[in-house]
Subunit: 240 residues, 2 copies
């Protein structure tokens, strides 16, 4: 109607897994967008759906399959006008195929985005800080093996300690005790030889920051934020 | 399938006006929800659409009509599964009718929610802290008159000062200078006789808190948050 207008792409966000991580992602997207007025920000269509059943139980086969629900969320976001999709939860990426086959728009995998960043570091051994389901699905272990890197994991006891901290973060705890717990777990991977750490769980950056670890900590949240903003702001001229 | 499950209602959020206010609203919804695990949080379907043109210009008649765009957002949220709608922007409530006629689900007006709270205070004179378009549309002036309260407004110069602060907040400023500016504007309404203040703009609580003013400050954001959570958690038993 009013001629050509430069506009950004709309990102569809599969969220609510967990809630704080989704709002954290959105806040970081705003902070990472070079905008002085509302209209320079990017459109986010968000399905903040915390009712999605436990991901770890689903992957372990002890809970209901969540693939159909994630596919329905993806279809809903496409129908609402999303140009591409992201999901603010590493573990749920075990269902990447279910999402990709449900829609005709691109689904940007957080694992791919993290691995693109890993490629920039020469680290031979990479420590994976991730939740049970993410590890059981082998998301980062497979990707690191394909990239010729060694994946370092926690011991069973350490992994259980991480899950306890994760539930505490989800329950609203972000204090020094939880942070110290995560720091100790990060240090343990460094002690085992990790030259690079992956925060492969979007709850980790709610508590642990760059500088809390001895070696570089790659935040999957921040990497997805940066990729999302760059993709959304890819200049497109659209006929109005 | 698995029998009855207690679940919450899904709230559809017309957002992005502005972006920070929407994320602030979502964060406050999480904080106000009594949840220990993800699944106890409420579902939010969010259309974070900062591309909506300037509301003040639209209301003044100097910019494009935004009613059709808000109606389209509302319809999209209904189609996505929202059980009721809210909008995180006082000024855009000038288009309440356009939204209500577009959907068959309830649209909870922030003005109604604020006025329900005003009713709990005996204040004869109420100071309105709001943006140009909100005032030009007379949203709170009409509601206060209907409630038998006197509405106190800023002088033209003060209103211009508020708008300058508002653009600075939208540009990312939240420092002591902006806060002091808002405090001075609040004090001016108190000096004029306001016994109660309305933060009738969702950017205000990004900077100004209860305690920054001499008389009670009603935050339209917090009141909408409380109402949204209460409504969403109204227990419903649904057949699975």
């Amino acid at each position: 109607m009013s001629g050509n207008r430069r506009r950004s792409l709309a990102v569809g966000v599969l969220g609510g897994m967990g809630p704080e991580a989704t709002v954290d992602f959105m806040a970081r997207v705003l902070a990472a967008t070079p905008a002085r007025v509302d209209q320079e920000h990017i459109r986010m269509l968000v399905d903040h759906n915390p009712a999605i059943p436990d991901r770890h139980a689903a992957i372990a086969g002890t809970g209901p399959d969540i693939g159909p629900e994630l596919a329905a969320m993806a279809r809903g976001l496409e129908a609402a006008g999303a140009d591409f999709l992201v999901m603010v939860c590493n573990t749920a990426h075990a269902y990447t195929e279910a999402i990709r086959t449900a829609v005709s728009i691109p689904f940007v995998s957080i694992v791919d985005v993290v691995m693109a960043a890993v490629a920039e570091y020469p680290a031979a051994a990479v420590g994976i800080m991730a939740a049970d389901g993410c590890l059981q699905a082998g998301l980062y272990q497979r990707a690191l093996a394909a990239a010729g890197r060694e994946a370092l994991l926690w011991t069973t006891a350490e992994q259980q300690r991480f899950m306890t901290l994760l539930w505490r973060i989800k329950a609203g705890e972000r204090g020094p005790e939880v942070r110290a717990g995560l720091q100790a777990l990060a240090a343990s991977l460094e002690f085992a030889g990790a030259e690079l750490l992956l925060a492969g769980c979007t709850e980790i950056p709610l508590v642990l920051e760059q500088g809390d670890t001895g070696v570089r900590l790659l935040s999957s949240t921040d990497l997805l934020v940066r990729h999302t903003v760059a993709l959304a702001l890819t200049p497109t001229i659209q006929q109005e």
